[in-house]
């Protein structure tokens, strides 16, 4: 793929996303002009880009969608859910083609067929009589390349107009199209307050125009001054839709014709003429440069600059190079104000180069650039930089390695400090270490900032999801998102999508009642789901709430018992909150019937697992009749983990601090034996004890019956356990490296990290280790 194509892929995806958002907003908010315009623009730009990378099938489909939206925009068609459906389907199709295009550089073989049938479906919305009446009648000339001698297929008046007057209208760049306009105002239009020329004045990019009598004018004595007998015709390089918008009140009097400008006569004699003219202008410009280079005497410098500017500008204007002449004028005035020939020379040299850019260079080919004047546009494009994610990750990994190296340095610094106590070198190393530590931490923080993206990136997909689901289920649901600009690590944001999909699906499918039920409950017909993101310290909170029926704890108990998740007595002992929490258990489904939307009984289970994998927690509150709120409490970034280095069975292990709710040290008398297991009572709950050494199959330490024992209290899946360790050695911020190779699939390990002394530390996933 070349750069142009790569850019197309990126831009197309953005446009598709934007168009999807706007279509949904259009449906939700009704037909606000601003909204329609936005949708229209997105489709229009998309169509244009598809044309640039030469994907005719995509252009065809988008063109049909655009026509449909034109009618919506003109008010001849109302926005209906079906129109939105079809437009979204068109976008989906385009999105899938963009994916194909990215991989194969082309569209699938059947794309043309698909495009035609989808376009037909889109066009079926046009009420034929209305369409013929109220839209400006438009025809398209086939592209010139497809025809032998393209110009013969243009209406005669178009050809006449392009060759009339003293303007050279010749084929310029293959991608551009021109619009021919024929406007025949009604005879009584003056009485309606129309001023046809006034409409023409608004046409953008006019290239040629003519006014002629529709019927031959009568002798002056019989002329009716207030009967309009004029036909206006014009050629414009402007956008056809913009042009048609100007004539929207007189659609019956206007015809537009879009034609590629390569259908214009190539005018070989004129090209020759242009070449000759260019050579002449170049000579004139060159002469001015030479004169300026020797004009070093101060007294006539101003005169030289003035005359050189004038001569060059006149020559350029004569050749029709108006943009270039402006460049020279700007250079000239800058030169005058600085009393320095340099800006003018620079401008002239630029012109000289531009004029020499090949025999086919015609006046409008030559792009305007201003000499030595900073352009705002350049600044703007510099503000956002697209960087390949792999490159970014490489940088972050390096910063991570640096953290490890810094930890090693800390170790050495401590050693030096111990062995050379009071020595100057020790103090120096300590000082340098402190400085490096600060810098490395800042560097790491800054690199992680590079990966921070707003949650809007995930939230964006949900309006569409909610719309489609609620339509499918016959429910009326609006989605509101808050805190879209809240930022979190890209890796976190990417992983957030799946749990959110489950939560939102569940809310629409199970949470929100049907219309009758809502009516009976005295609730508004439109249900509301909200997704809210906020940042609290270094945590990202995401809450999904709905105003649906809520979760009935009694029903959950019944289901749990039916599914055999727990015995009746166990269930009875649970508080309502604990019972409701069971919906996160594997194999639980509250749906009375399994639907294809959710209710396979795995959704909430997946939510809790995914969220816990990324170091987050899920909690749920619900009130029967009022709705449900699920709260995801997530770390902002998952690149850095806080671990505790613990010792058990003579070895060191890392344990993620996220997993540990608290550490307790207990005297032996607090430990009780329950059945075959030891445990203790912590705030009225019995916590079973697990020995880490035993879990890791390591020799247990010989027990000193009187010594106090140390436990990490772990909470996982609603259960509590105390993991006994021998000692806590350290607390570290580390970059976890996932287990690789043979160990990649090993259960119970979160990854590895390097300790300051070079030892590899195994970091455990204690929740997986618990029996």
């Amino acid at each position: 793929m070349n750069t142009l194509q790569e850019q197309f892929v990126t831009e197309a995806r953005e446009l598709i996303r934007q168009a999807t958002d706007d279509l949904i907003a259009l449906e939700r908010d009704g037909s606000s002009t601003e909204c329609i315009d936005r949708v229209f623009r997105a489709f229009h730009t998309l169509k244009g880009s598809a044309g640039v990378v030469e994907l005719p099938a995509m252009s065809l489909l988008l063109h049909a969608a655009e026509d449909l939206l034109t009618s919506v925009r003109q008010g001849t068609l109302g926005v209906s859910a079906e129109i939105i459906d079809q437009s979204l389907a068109a976008l989906d199709q385009v999105a899938s083609w963009v994916d194909d295009f990215e991989v194969t550089g082309t569209l699938p073989a059947q794309a043309g067929e698909v495009a035609r049938s989808m376009a037909e479906r889109l066009r079926s919305f046009f009420p034929t009589d209305v369409a013929a009446h109220a839209t400006v009648s438009r025809t398209s000339a086939p592209p010139g390349g497809a025809l032998p001698g393209g110009k013969t297929n243009l209406p005669e008046w178009v050809t006449a107009l392009t060759q009339s007057q003293d303007r050279r209208l010749t084929s310029q760049s293959p991608a551009s199209t021109l619009v021919a306009i024929s406007y025949e105002p009604l005879a009584d239009c003056f009485f309606n307050g129309d001023d046809p020329l006034q409409l023409m004045r608004q046409v953008p990019g006019l290239l040629a125009m003519s006014a002629e009598p529709r019927e031959a004018f009568p002798p002056l004595a019989e002329l009716e001054p207030y009967v309009c007998n004029i036909r206006l015709r014009a050629i414009s390089a402007g956008n056809r839709d913009d042009i048609e918008r100007i004539f929207r009140l007189v659609p019956d009097q206007v015809r537009t014709l879009e034609f590629p400008d390569d259908a214009l006569p190539a005018a070989p004699d004129k090209t020759g003429y242009t070449n000759e003219l260019n050579a002449l202008i170049r000579a004139v410009v060159d002469e001015q440069c030479q004169m300026l280079r020797v004009a070093d005497r101060k007294d006539d410098l101003v005169g030289c600059i003035g005359s050189a500017t004038r001569v060059a500008v006149n020559a350029l204007r004569h050749g029709g190079y108006f943009v270039l002449s402006e460049t020279v004028e700007r250079g000239g005035s800058l030169a005058l104000s600085r009393r320095d020939t340099e800006p003018l020379l620079a401008a002239l040299e630029q012109v000289f180069v531009a004029l020499g850019s090949g025999p086919e260079a015609t006046p409008d080919d030559i792009a305007p650039t201003s000499p030595s004047l900073p352009s705002e546009q350049i600044d703007r494009s510099d503000r956002v930089l697209r960087v390949n994610e792999t490159k970014l990750n490489a940088l972050i990994n390096l910063a991570g390695e640096l953290i490890v190296a810094k930890n090693a340095l800390a170790h050495s610094a401590r050693q030096v400090d111990q062995e050379l106590r009071g020595h100057e070198i020790a103090a120096a190393i300590r000082r340098d270490h402190a400085a490096i530590e600060r810098l490395v931490v800042e560097l790491h923080g800054a690199t992680l900032q590079l990966r921070m993206v707003p949650v809007a990136q995930v939230f964006r997909s949900f309006p569409r999801l909610v719309r489609d689901l609620s339509r499918q289920l016959g429910k009326n649901v609006t989605l509101v998102t808050h805190g879209d600009t809240t930022e979190a690590d890209k890796a976190m944001i990417d992983r957030l999508f799946e749990p959110l999909v489950h939560l939102v699906r569940n809310a629409v499918d199970h949470g929100i009642e049907g219309p009758e039920q809502r009516h009976a409950a005295g609730k508004s017909a439109t249900a509301a789901i909200s997704i809210q993101a906020s940042r609290v310290g270094d945590r990202l909170l995401v809450e999904v709430s709905d105003d649906g029926r809520g979760i009935d704890a009694a029903m959950v108990r019944r289901k749990a018992s039916e599914r055999g998740l727990m015995s009746r007595t166990e269930l009875a002992a649970l508080t309502d909150e604990q019972a409701i929490d069971l919906i996160f258990a594997a194999g639980f489904s509250t749906a009375t019937a399994v639907s294809d939307i959710s209710g396979r009984g795995i959704g909430m289970d997946v939510v809790r697992n995914t969220v816990e994998q990324i170091g987050g927690r899920v909690s749920l509150t619900s009130k029967v009749g009022d709705g449900t709120k699920v709260r995801l409490d997530l770390p902002i970034t998952i690149a850095m983990s806080r671990i505790m280095v613990v010792e058990a069975g003579g070895q060191l292990f890392g344990i993620s601090m996220d997993a540990v709710s608290e550490t307790v040290r207990l005297t032996p008398d607090r430990i009780v034996r329950i059945k075959s297991n030891d445990g203790f009572v912590l705030r009225d709950r019995i916590v079973p004890i697990v020995l880490l050494a035993e879990l890791m199959k390591l020799p247990e330490r010989s027990e000193n019956a009187n010594a106090s024992r140390l436990f990490l209290v772990i909470e996982a899946g609603g259960r509590m356990a105390a993991v006994e360790i021998d000692a806590i050695r350290d607390r570290l911020d580390v970059v976890l490296k996932p287990m690789q190779g043979l160990l990649a699939g090993a259960r119970g390990y979160a990854g590895t990290t390097l300790l300051g002394d070079g030892r590899v530390l195994l970091v455990l996933d204690v929740k997986e280790l618990l029996p």
């Binding site: 006449a160 107009l161 009339s164 007057q165 105002p185 003056f190 129309d194 001023d195 046809p196 020329l197 006034q198 023409m200 004045r201 006019l206 040629a208 125009m209 003519s210 006014a211 002629e212 009598p213 004018f217 009568p218 002056l220 004595a221 002329l223 001054p225 207030y226 309009c228 007998n229 004029i230 014009a234």
Partner: protein, 80 residues
């Protein structure tokens, strides 16, 4: 009234903007003196009806029109 006759030369002058109402007086002046030159160098925006009278009378002036847009696009009368 923005269509006036020059007292000395007899030329018809369009001064300032020329709305639709100016078409009739302009036509009357042209009917009275079909050969009188028209001066539109000081005109403002010209209405289609006024332009139509000039076109029908074959009286599009050679001098530049005060209405810049009209000068650029339609000051040449019938094209071709």
């Amino acid at each position: 009234m923005t269509v006036v006759r020059h007292a000395d030369t007899g030329a018809i002058r369009l001064v300032g903007s020329c709305p639709v109402e100016d078409a009739e007086p302009l036509l009357q002046m042209l009917q009275a003196t079909p050969a009188a030159p028209v001066d539109w160098t000081e005109s403002g925006q010209i209405h289609t009806a006024v332009y139509q009278v000039l076109l029908a009378a074959g009286a599009i002036p050679v001098e530049p029109c005060g209405d810049g847009w009209l000068q650029q696009w339609l000051a040449h009368g019938r094209p071709g």
